[in-house]
Symmetry: C2
Subunit: 281 residues, 2 copies
DNA sequence: CGTCCTATTGACCTCACTCAAGAATAGTGG
DNA sequence: CCACTATTCTTGAGTGAGGTCAATAGGACG
């Protein structure tokens, strides 16, 4: 039902679609932030073996289908994606979010089939490379090989992060951890760590954190009321990074343990939606 | 505090310790079950470059320390381990459990440091191989290289499994999913899928599922009362695999949705501890 | 035999899920 | 450009599930 009106990505993009998709320098960054190749390096990146194909993925289009045979992998040039897995009962569990520089489709390396569905959260641009060329590419380019290994090994970090996220007790803390992770990711991409523009819906966040989407709303307003951040729709500004970190540090136990007066009597005057400074959009 | 009385693994095992650790055939299996190399293949596994060193890890000994520089990786020959990460507040989040055939220490590939602490849940035997020999080994042995890539790519599946685990609402369902995953893992190792011998404590399970350890106890007895399984300490026998799967299928919503009379009026006569068939230990 | 750890069970109470309704935003078509 | 519609987001009320605290029993180990 979510995919009913999902536009399918066209495998062979039209020429005019490709034109704006090929800038001079392409900073490619892997999963948790390490750079694949610096600007301008893409030219001789895979030159001897294969050329990465730029593709446009429209919003809500499905880049990779769960269970489909793995043909190629992608590196996000611009835009945002969500990786999800459908449970037997139709519940859509969001595994991860991917942004500029992240690699997609490497999950098919082990099983030959994609383990998750990858959907564009907004109009995006990706570089596609056939999986068949992967081995030749690794043999021809030692740097690519090393980066690939590192990127694959970085999944361990992802698992730790996910466990850290889901291990937190309380919707507020879990949401705080999510925002902190997002902030860190944005900082690694050279963007502001304080001003975040959420590409995903509350429902997607909820499906990622294992909460109800109403709880996300409540947690956001709760954190805003406490003065930790300001929320205006999908624009989030972190006002008190240290306080947020302190709140997120406690995995279990009552919230008052780490930040005694955290969510009760802290700056209750912050009327989120009435604050003129929140008018960002 | 958990590591206070933890015996440290001796890097150079004594000769008599090595003797029983080198059987004729060594079935090496990777993370989710794919075989690294068949029996007898270890001989020429890494022969041209390096020899894997068998090591014994006593119960509660720490094989890898979180944050320590990554020197070598291991393949579990026998025994069980838990991989955990310490939160800032001292909460020990269990990332995963590892058993025979699983690879350990590859998390240091990306960052150079281990991202988690690996502790032996019982006296175990592992094969150690220096990370420095990894590249040479890959170059010399194409099969090893491929298996390594697959093993690394399989982390994606692990992430999906973890999300599936934590995404379930309700301690009963979450515990059911955990037991099903464990059952699948044991089946892949050629052991019984119905009779499980839990290597980890309830507390470890709780830290892995994001629940209180009391909830694990309650969930186990609840599932036993419903007739899904029989529990005697760390021995668990799955009595109704299909029913358990059906219960675990529902991620959210009331438990009655999938199995209407699941945990209420189903075989309440099953007195777990009074059943003579449960005397396994 | 004493101690520590694990496991179980009970009582209490907070918290988050569910259901439900309203408001705001985005997307669509005239 | 504006109206209409669908989706998203927010807020409220009620309730059930699970966390916390606490006590007990059983086992392992020294």
């Amino acid at each position: 039902m979510l995919e009913s009106h999902a536009r399918i990505l066209l495998p062979a993009p039209s020429p005019e679609a490709l034109a704006p998709a090929a800038p001079a320098t392409i900073p490619i960054v892997s999963g948790p932030g390490e750079r694949w190749f610096g600007p301008g390096e893409l030219a001789h990146w895979s030159a001897p073996v294969a050329a990465p194909v730029p593709c446009r993925a429209a919003r809500q289009s499905v880049l990779l289908h769960e269970g489909a045979p793995a043909h190629s992998f992608y590196i996000v040039q611009a835009g945002d994606f969500k990786v999800s897995r459908m449970a037997e009962d139709g519940y859509e569990q969001v595994i991860a979010f991917a942004g500029a520089g992240d690699a997609l489709g490497l999950d098919g390396l082990a099983s030959g089939c994609h383990l998750g569905t990858v959907e564009a959260l907004q109009d995006s641009i990706v570089y596609a490379l056939p999986l068949a060329d992967l081995h030749a590419l690794r043999a021809a380019n030692a740097t690519f090989d090393r980066r690939l290994m590192e990127s694959l090994g970085a999944r361990w970090e992802c698992m730790g992060d996910m466990a850290w996220l889901m291990g937190a007790l309380g919707a507020d803390r879990r949401t705080a951890r999510f925002l902190l992770q997002l902030s860190r990711t944005m900082a690694r991409r050279g963007m502001s760590a304080r001003r975040l523009r959420l590409a995903m819906s509350r429902r997607d966040i909820a499906a990622h954190l294992g909460l109800a989407h109403e709880s996300i709303s409540r947690a956001m307003t709760s954190l805003a009321m406490a003065g930790y951040l300001r929320v205006y729709g999908r624009e989030v500004e972190i006002m008190d990074m240290d306080g947020l970190r302190q709140l997120a540090a406690n995995t279990r136990g009552h919230a008052c343990d780490g930040a005694p007066a955290a969510l009760r009597d802290r700056a209750p005057a912050h009327a989120v939606r009435d604050d003129p400074a929140c008018a960002m959009h």
